[in-house]
Amino acid sequence: MVPLFVLIPFFSIIILNLFPKKLMQHLSFVWLGFLSLAQVYLVAARPVWFWDTKLELWNLLFSFRYSVDVITLVMLLCIGIVVFISLLASRAMISDVHQRVNFKNLLLVSLIGMNATVLVTDVFSLYVFIEITAVSSYIMIAMNKDRLGLEGAFKYLILSAIATVMMLVAISLLLLLTGNTSFEAVGAGLAGAGNSLFVRVSIGLFLCGLFIKSGLVPFHGWLPDAYSAAPAPASILLAGIVTKVSGVYVLMRLAISVFGLTPSVQALLMFIGAVSIIIGAVAALTQTDFKRMLAYSSISQIGYIILGVGCGTKLALIGAVFHLFNHAIFKSLLFVNAASVEKELGTTDMDKMGGLTQRMPVTGITSVIGLLSTAGIPPLSGFWSKFIIIIALWQAGNFGYAAFALLASIITLAYFLSMQRKVFFGKLRSGLENIKESSMGLIVSQAVLAIITLVVGLIFPLVISWR
């Protein structure tokens, strides 16, 4: 019954929009909450009746080929959690009825896109579902129709359309080379084709497209703009999961099971990862806007994941997938913190804040947990994943990159501590005496994410043996 992950959101868009808008906003809130939590339950508990039953009726109507492995399961789990958090944030942050309804429809569309992206086994279907996810996120960024949002959305749209053109050219070339588009056929064809210029051009084009999609350093221009200009619930969704699914996950899947980790691909991935780590971290140091700083930190953390994928040993891949999970959790946590500060203060400029922990205790404390986890302080979950990646790099003989990754996490700590000092710690800035803790939905989502970060860090041995 695995295709239900895609089919149920699809039919619920059609059915929910039959109701009048006033009713639909509550109904879709409940239904989307149920869908995302059900997805978390189905992945975490993995009941046999769900995963092993075949849908005979649907197979008659159309065929949906899918494959499920550990990476897919982790991604489905992250999608469920982040969609739920973004839903709670949208309840708190969006007050207009029409915008609420629009946002929930877009959330359902992007749920379809993301779930299908992680399940498909075909290069062209991958492109189709990446594009569905991307279209829904363009509209989410531009949803308020303000100048910044439109500018961010247009930049994202143009760069991501160029990325898809690159990917499509690569798909056409792979089709020319192998005569098919499924993962196995393309992988087998590439393995038989050797290392000609043609193969290298098509793999290189595909990787470049994915680098743009995941916002790695030479192609990262759109990412801070899109994240900081988007409305808060959309930026939680984008930063938490959309770029990870449509960029990093696809990169990982193709690198592992289609292109194969050849030495040249490995060298390219590790180099790009290392450059992203350092440039993202240094750029984050200089930012004065809360969300832009988080966006640059996101580039830096994606660099760690790509470094792990590029290393290519089994341990490094485990570390990369684990860091992907952790990054989805703690980056959503930090973006929810930013959202609740934005909701109460009406700004994301860090120079206008100070001492907010006195007024917003939950936001302050959970943001400390998020920052310590990002910087890799034990016993939080981010420590373990970074630790595994660095150990794997060392074992594989990449001593330079290992030392580099270790040193760069000090810069991570530096920019986060400077953020904390400006925003949450210290004396309350004058003029902010009337600030209250933000609404219930945001508090609950912050608490849930912080508890996940803490618990995953503490019961790490159980988590790492989960499969």
Partner: protein, 106 residues
């Protein structure tokens, strides 16, 4: 890779290359939002032609047809969204000049 007859399509390659160069030139050199979109459209058209040619050369016409039709549908969706964003930008700025989109600094 069996590409019998690949040589006879040299004019096809030239058309695809020309479309690519024109599209890229429009995107890079133009300061008008609509022209950027037209450039994008040219790029996607070039890719569409490339997939048709690929399907013909590898005797996968059925697969290529399915791919091209899907491609056209998705392209329309992207262009509609992009057009909507451009209209909103025009309403806000009263101008289609990309040089006025400078509030966010990469």
């Amino acid at each position: 890779m069996n590409l019998a007859g690949a040589q006879t399509f040299w004019y096809f390659y030239i058309a695809i290359m020309l479309l690519f160069v024109m599209g890229a030139y429009y995107i890079i050199a133009s300061f008008n939002l609509i022209r950027v979109l037209i450039g994008l459209e040219l790029l996607i058209k070039a890719v569409t032609l490339l997939s048709i040619l690929t399907g013909y050369l590898t005797h996968n016409e059925g697969l290529a047809q399915a791919l091209v039709i899907t491609l056209i549908v998705i392209e329309v969706v992207i262009m509609v969204v992009a057009g909507g964003i451009v209209v909103c930008i025009y309403r806000n700025n009263k101008s289609l000049d990309t040089r006025k989109l400078k509030e966010l600094k990469g």
